[in-house]
Amino acid sequence: MDYNFYLSTMWSVLKALPLTLEIWFFGIAFGLIIATGLTWLRASGSKFGEYFTRAYVFVFRGSPLLVQLYLIYFGLSQFDFVRHSPILWPILRDPMYCTIVAMALNTAAYESEIFRGALRAVPVGQIEAAKAFGMSAFTRFRLVTLPIALRLALPAYSTEIILMTKATALASMVTIMEMMGTAQKIQHDTFRPIEVLTCAGVIYLLLNLSIARLFAWVEYLLSPHLRPAPEQSQQIKPVPEVL
């Protein structure tokens, strides 16, 4: 067992972990913003909103992320007006930003469907009660719909976020030396693909387990009402006499 080799490989791959996390984090953050926009557009009730979001979800869920990435990175740079645009080119020029954009657009499609399902799953009774209380639409949304929907969406959303860690590996196809790219380079130089890839696999596994554990904890924090009440172990103090 060539421990030195495994350790040095894992260390080299770990050095690329910050880059992987960067892609992952910003992909999720921007994806969340876009997904919120899409969900709002869909919920607004306009015909255009509905058709646009349905088309968007269809395109971005129906095609592989790799195709979307290549299209954004290589395809768009073919156009003169993109290359000379002062807004688009600084973003599309950098492979890092291109990857983040591709991942954000892709995950937003899945996330908007998750949010849509969560919004529909909010118990109608709660909303009716809120209406009966005379809450305005905004207050209703802020105090009733949003908290419940967030809690309902959390399991599916956390699954999607964990899936995003796998998507970061595709950045290696457009020159970014994140964990997968680093592992591949080591594999090319040493001609030991199985060992290198297994080491990288272990690191990805640990990463995913940590993120999954983190989200399980967040779910736990957000659902105190689903847990049994704590034991009434303390002495109930007698009410002091009031005279």
Binding site: R93, D94, P95, H188, F191
Partner: protein, 280 residues
């Protein structure tokens, strides 16, 4: 599983596998990228054609072998060869000591120095030593000076090259700490990015760039800076790659290749595809 089950499993796998077990060489599978013009490229009908295809057909005719060409991405050629997916690799591969640790090479059939390509109107159009050929095997003051100038001029610039090539090793050794090196899966990709302006300079074989410059959308590109050849990193030339265990196949191939080199056939193909004789 009983041993008979293992044999059955192996037999099933054998029937699906390519003939990597042939010891009396009648058929060989040769891997080429199919996207490394003009050494090997894919035409619109899906057939692979090019300089190396012509050499291969010539050599196989002389050696009375049936040669099948298989497309394989560059970064999988050496692992694929050692794993037995094919028997020979012809893909503009430079003979280097590092590679010779794992595989064997035929006698060289071409030499191809490495060069830099950049935009005529870009920041690197005025690189020094333009057009000079630096032979790194001499390891003298001239090559050292050329490398120093190169490092200075490429500081902070975006350089593109293909993964797992001699250029990548060169860049790792001399340029990694000064330039932003981007490694691409294929040479076409760094060409595309050079034309798009993401890269300031691309770094690949001279002969490959000759093919790139022949395309109409490369009219703004030109060779810049010195060309390098020789030395331990770049190697003495381009050869076909074989597994170390296939010495008999290497002998057959080398005999036929030598005959083709001696009677000028390879030079003929070279003139046809490169317009220059790269066997020298």
């Amino acid at each position: 599983m009983t041993s008979s089950r293992w044999i059955a499993l192996a037999a099933v796998a054998l029937t699906c596998s390519t003939p990597a077990l042939a010891k009396d060489w009648k058929t060989v599978t040769v891997a080429m990228e199919g996207s490394y013009a003009p050494w090997n490229q894919t035409d619109a009908s899906g057939k692979i054609v090019g300089f190396e295809v012509d050499i291969l057909n010539d050599v196989c005719a002389r050696a009375k072998l049936e040669c099948k060409i298989q497309a394989q991405d560059w970064d999988g050629v050496i692992p694929g060869l050692t794993a037995g997916k094919f028997d020979i690799v012809m893909d503009g591969m430079s003979i280097t000591e590092e590679r010779m640790k794992t595989i064997d090479f035929s006698i060289p059939y071409a030499s191809s120095p490495v060069a830099f390509l950049a935009d005529k109107n870009g920041p690197l159009a005025q690189m020094s030593n333009s057009g000079k050929m630096i032979d790194l095997s001499k390891d003298d003051a001239e090559s050292k000076a050329a490398l120093d100038t190169l490092r200075k001029e490429l500081t902070g610039k975006n350089l593109g090259l293909q993964v797992s090539t001699t250029e990548a090793t060169f860049a790792d050794k001399y340029l990694k700490d000064v330039a932003n090196v981007h490694e691409y899966k294929t040479t076409d990709e760094h060409d595309l990015d050079l034309m798009a302006g993401r890269l300031d300079v691309a770094f690949a074989d001279t002969t490959y760039f000759l093919g790139t410059l022949a395309k109409p959308d490369a009219k703004d590109l030109e060779f810049v800076g010195p060309q390098f050849k020789g030395g331990p990193i770049l190697g003495p030339g381009i050869g076909a790659a074989f597994r170390k265990t296939d010495k008999d196949l290497q002998d057959i191939y080398n005999k036929a290749l030598k005959a083709a080199l001696d009677d000028g056939s390879v030079s003929k193909y070279s003139m046809q595809w490169f317009k220059i004789d790269i066997t020298k």
